[in-house]
């Protein structure tokens, strides 16, 4: 209850500038920078002469510092973010395809800002996880930057046309990365990814078009389209299509078919991007287009969402329990945070919606960590078979610790960010979706058994004398996994607002919980706009 009181308490707002987003960054191009700088740098990398791979290291540095630069910009943007304003901030709006009513409209509110921070962090982590790439370095980092740009674009889009553009575009670089640098089953993984994500894109386009037609066909701007008064049948149809789109991306059972192959076959950096940020777009889409926009459909479809959440968590845990391949087990376990997020959305309670936003962030980090640590461990142990891997803890202390943290993060134990999100989720959802919440909790219990089995077998059993030689994580691997674990710990320790230890000075203004609540005031925010003295 202490945690709940911390989370739900309304901290005092910091003195706020009069103009949202004003401060160091007064430019209206802030969000465009997060989208287009990676694209420009990708083009720069693609255009660089690179005789015999001479500048491979430089290309890696460019990709890394591009992501660091974006994270720096996002850090300042986060610091300036007006946590108590339920309005869009850093907004950019330029007419574009006027003939069809599309505008270049970008903007973020609390959930968007949270997702951007997640994407920025995952961007850095993915480059660090990709430092071992030796073949076709130029193409790899070019595509990786494009993938990150599309994810950022989908997050900041405030026009359905822009959202569709980036949502659909994300599949292309990611599919090529899996196809070009993936494991032995990369072809199957790529086609499954394209098939499922293509289905999701199709559902998103049809749903958007239905909404566009029902709203009069004048504009794709979310400010108009998602607030248009449409009939409950249209809402229901659009809501169902959005669930299909989200279920293919997050993914949710039974549209999770790509996840096992992609998470287990993709190169580590790509798997981290997909698990950490690209897949979280599914939940973000549901929040934007169903929960926040179609109240009638949201109430009708909430039980379906709860069922999908329970099935996803339960299925992921059960299959992981029986998996014989470490990376495949991780792939199934990485489904669990998405299920928890969807349960939070299904509850339609202020507390749970706040939990959903935090769960997108924390779940993204946790999924990326479990996928990344298992992939790194497999690489270092030269095997991914659970019949071969055993007793690795003494020889892999760093990876052992990280794997334990990853498991605990998936389960949502105290001190980790997922605990906060799970707490908000369950306190919110037991009220309106009790059966779904119990089922998800039961699924988490099975997942705990799966983790215990995995840890015992891989880490703490007797070493296998016939197994290939092993080595612990390298410095780069430790850094990328440590960043993910550190993020989970930091937000877990300071959920109401990370502060500089030992001082009262906020490192980031107001903190994640407040920021994520902004923009959800109608349905979710337990906070109220501050009134004058």
């Amino acid at each position: 209850m202490i945690w709940l009181s911390i989370l739900s308490a309304s901290p005092s707002p910091s003195p706020a500038p009069t103009v949202p987003g004003a401060g160091i960054f007064s430019t209206s191009l802030l969000l465009s920078l997060t989208v287009w700088v990676p694209v420009v740098m990708a083009i720069a990398i693609a255009s660089m002469p690179n005789p015999r791979g001479r500048y491979d290291a430089l290309m890696k540095q460019i990709a890394f510092f591009t992501n660091v630069g974006i994270m720096f910009v996002l850090g300042i943007a986060y610091n300036q973010f007006q946590s108590f304003l339920p309005t869009l901030q850093y907004e950019e709006k330029v007419p574009w395809l006027q003939a069809v009513g599309a505008t270049y409209h970008l903007g973020v509110d609390g959930p968007g800002m949270t997702m951007l921070i997640l994407s920025g962090l995952i961007g850095i982590v993915s480059v660090l996880a990709s430092l071992g790439i030796r073949e076709r370095v130029r193409s790899y980092f070019c595509l990786l930057l494009l993938a990150q740009a599309t994810v950022n674009g989908a997050i900041v889009a405030r026009d359905m046309f822009i959202l569709i553009l980036f949502w659909a575009a994300a599949a292309i670089p990611i599919a090529l990365l899996v196809l070009g640098w993936g494991g032995p089953r990369r072809h199957a993984a790529t086609w499954r990814l394209l098939g499922y994500w293509g289905l999701g894109t199709a559902a998103l386009v049809v749903g958007t078009m239905a909404l566009y037609a029902a709203a009069g066909g004048g504009t794709f701007d979310m400010d108009v389209l998602l607030k248009a008064t449409v009939g409950s049948r249209v809402q229901l149809a659009v809501g169902a299509l959005m669930i299909v789109a989200a279920a293919t991306r997050l993914p949710l059972f039974p549209l999770h078919g790509w996840a096992r192959d992609v998470y287990s076959e993709a190169p580590i950096g790509v798997a981290v991007v997909v698990a950490g940020s690209a897949s979280r777009l599914g939940a973000y889409l549901l929040l934007r287009t169903l929960i926040g926009a179609e109240p009638a459909a949201a109430h009708l479809l909430a039980p379906l969402l709860a069922v999908l959440a329970a099935l996803t968590v339960g299925y992921g845990a059960l299959v992981a329990l029986r998996a014989l391949d470490l990376r495949q087990a991780a792939a199934y376990l990485a489904l669990i945070p998405g299920g928890v997020t969807v349960l939070a959305l299904a509850a339609l309670q202020p507390l749970s919606i706040a939990g959903a936003v935090l769960s997108m962030f924390a779940g993204g980090l946790a999924a990326a960590l479990i996928v990344g640590v298992c992939a790194t461990l497999s690489d270092r142990a030269q095997s991914r078979s659970l019949q071969v891997l055993s007793g690795l803890a003494p020889r892999m202390p760093i990876l052992t610790w990280l794997m334990i943290i990853a498991g605990l993060a998936i389960l949502g134990v105290p001190l980790l960010a997922t605990f906060d999100s799970n707490l908000l989720t369950f306190f919110g959802s037991f009220k309106t979706q009790p059966i779904g919440a119990f089922a998800v909790a039961a699924g988490l219990a099975v997942a705990a058994v799966a983790f215990a089995t995995l840890w015992r077998r891989v880490l703490f059993s007797a070493p296998n004398p016939d197994a290939p030689g092993v080595s612990d994580a390298s410095l780069g691997e430790t850094w990328y996994l440590g960043l993910l674990a550190g993020g989970l710990l930091w937000v877990g320790l300071f959920p109401g607002g990370p502060k500089l230890p030992g001082t009262d000075s906020p490192l980031f203004d107001q903190g994640l919980v407040n920021v994520m609540a902004a923009g959800l005031s109608d349905i979710a925010s337990p906070y109220v706009l501050p009134t004058g003295p």
Binding site: L97, V100, A168, I172, Y212
Partner: protein, 468 residues
């Protein structure tokens, strides 16, 4: 200014005739032949400039047989742009004849221009047949058997088209498109109209190589030289689509006589094209089926019988014409399997980028010209309530994008093989072809980036056809 409006047609037709006669009578020395592509590309570039400068002036010519309006401006400019870039980018060592290889695309372009500015049924038919005949000649240079097949199939299509147009003329009482539209406003849909329109749409579907009506066009394009393939897949299909747009605009008062046919044809083309592209092994076959799928989207826009839909179709037609005409030319000789493209990204970076952009644009992948066009068509389909067609179109696009993944991987991710084992050689690099490849990439990118004003121009084109 009005006097200059037909100057582009005159330039293109004169250049074609001079090339044919000069080539036949051996006026052109071997040394001059080497610089011919540059000269002819400059001629078409000048024609494009004149079209953009003087084409905005409205006027009628030859007693209303030809009309210069915004529709004509848009379609003619797109055809001239596609031809200019194709001349620049093609590897002329892979072509069978320089003079015929230059003259036939010019004649096909002339055909598209005639169809685009046609004021009556005769000019529409004449423009389409001219373009199609040029395609047959180009294919015959390398594969007479496929050219014969194309000729026979095209002849059947032409007969259906001609019969349909004749019956249409008999039913309405006029060959003028503008008058026909006015007459139909006071008429009603009848079986006497529905039957000829069925014939016309069937004939156009074969001419445009809409899947599964690609009875001869796609096989012929696979056997032709790169420029010949671009001509058959791009310019002839663009001519057929131009005719379709103008006819549909005239028939909009009675949409029930054609919309069902068009829906079926468009749905088959979009899904069939995407599925066939996914199944195809050869890169050129993939390109051909991607083109067949995208032309289905053009047809889908016509189903709406709204200005927005026709405008979107016209916008998409421009993107299609450039990508489908130049795509095979950029690809070069890669007639074999995907291995023929292996390592192209490293060895021919500009061409590889052009081919990738052409394929992605034809597949409708964001953020390229094809995506914007297909999205505009999709929006008009939603506005008109054709959700089933929209869903099928999206399915086709998803299949198409999946089909492009393979060639992209081979070009950019697969290491270049030993050239002796490639089976076919990569295009020869020349100053003109490198410039053409870069220009092609630029046009595809700019068409997407400037989609707003270009779509506005296409919308004006649809408005010029009398749609409100």
């Amino acid at each position: 200014m009005k006097d200059f409006a037909l100057l582009p047609e005159a330039l293109v037709a004169a250049a074609a005739v001079i090339l044919l006669i000069g080539g036949r009578l051996s006026w052109i020395s071997p040394g001059a032949r080497r610089s011919l592509p540059t000269v002819v590309a400059l001629v078409t570039l000048v024609a494009l400039g004149v079209e953009l400068w003087a084409g905005a002036t409205l006027g009628t010519y030859f007693g209303g047989g030809l009309v210069q309006d915004r529709f004509a401006l848009f379609a003619k400019a797109a055809a001239l742009l596609a031809t200019t870039i194709a001349f620049a980018v093609v590897d002329w060592t892979a072509e069978d004849s320089v003079t015929v290889g230059l003259a036939m695309p010019l004649l096909a372009t002339f055909g598209v221009m005639i169809a685009a500015s046609a004021g009556d049924l005769v000019a529409l038919w004449a423009g389409l047949e001219l373009a199609a005949a040029a395609g047959v000649v180009m294919v015959a240079l390398r594969r007479p058997d496929l050219a014969l097949r194309l000729l026979v199939t095209g002849g059947v299509a032409s007969a259906m088209l001609l019969t349909g147009l004749a019956f249409l003329y008999a039913s309405v009482g006029t060959a003028s498109l503008g008058t026909m539209r006015a007459v139909l406003f006071s008429g009603a849909p009848t079986l006497a109209l529905a039957i000829p329109i069925f014939l016309v749409i069937s004939g156009l579907a074969v001419r445009a190589a809409l899947a599964p009506f690609q009875l001869a066009s796609i096989p012929a394009s696979l056997g032709a030289s790169p420029l010949g393939a671009g001509l058959v897949l791009g310019l002839v299909a663009a001519a057929a689509a131009t005719v379709a747009i103008k006819l549909v605009a005239a028939l909009t008062p009675i949409p029930t006589v054609y919309s069902t046919y068009l829906e079926v044809v468009a749905a088959l083309a979009m899904v069939g094209g995407g599925a066939a592209a996914l199944a195809a092994q050869s890169p050129r076959a993939k390109l051909a089926y991607l083109a067949a799928g995208q032309i289905g989207w053009v047809a889908a826009g016509l189903v709406t019988h709204y200005r927005s839909g026709l405008g979107a179709s016209l916008f998409l037609l421009g993107a299609f014409a450039v990508a489908a005409t130049c795509g095979p030319a950029v690809m070069g000789r890669a007639e074999g399997g995907e291995a023929a493209l292996a390592g192209m990204g490293a060895l021919r970076p500009a061409r590889a980028a052009g081919l990738a952009l052409a394929m992605l644009s034809l597949a409708g992948a964001p953020p390229l010209a094809g995506f914007f066009g297909e999205f505009a068509v999709a929006a008009s389909l939603a506005q008109s309530g054709h959700f089933a067609l929209l869903a099928l179109g999206i399915l086709g696009s998803v299949l198409s994008v999946a089909a492009v993944a393979g060639p992209l991987r081979v070009m950019y991710i697969q290491s270049p093989p030993d050239e002796a084992r490639r089976g076919t050689r990569l295009p020869v690099v020349s100053g003109l072809s490198s410039f053409g490849a870069v220009a092609f990439c630029g046009v595809i990118a700019v068409y997407g980036l400037l989609s707003s004003p270009i779509l506005g121009l296409a919308d004006q084109g649809a408005e010029a056809l009398g749609l409100r």
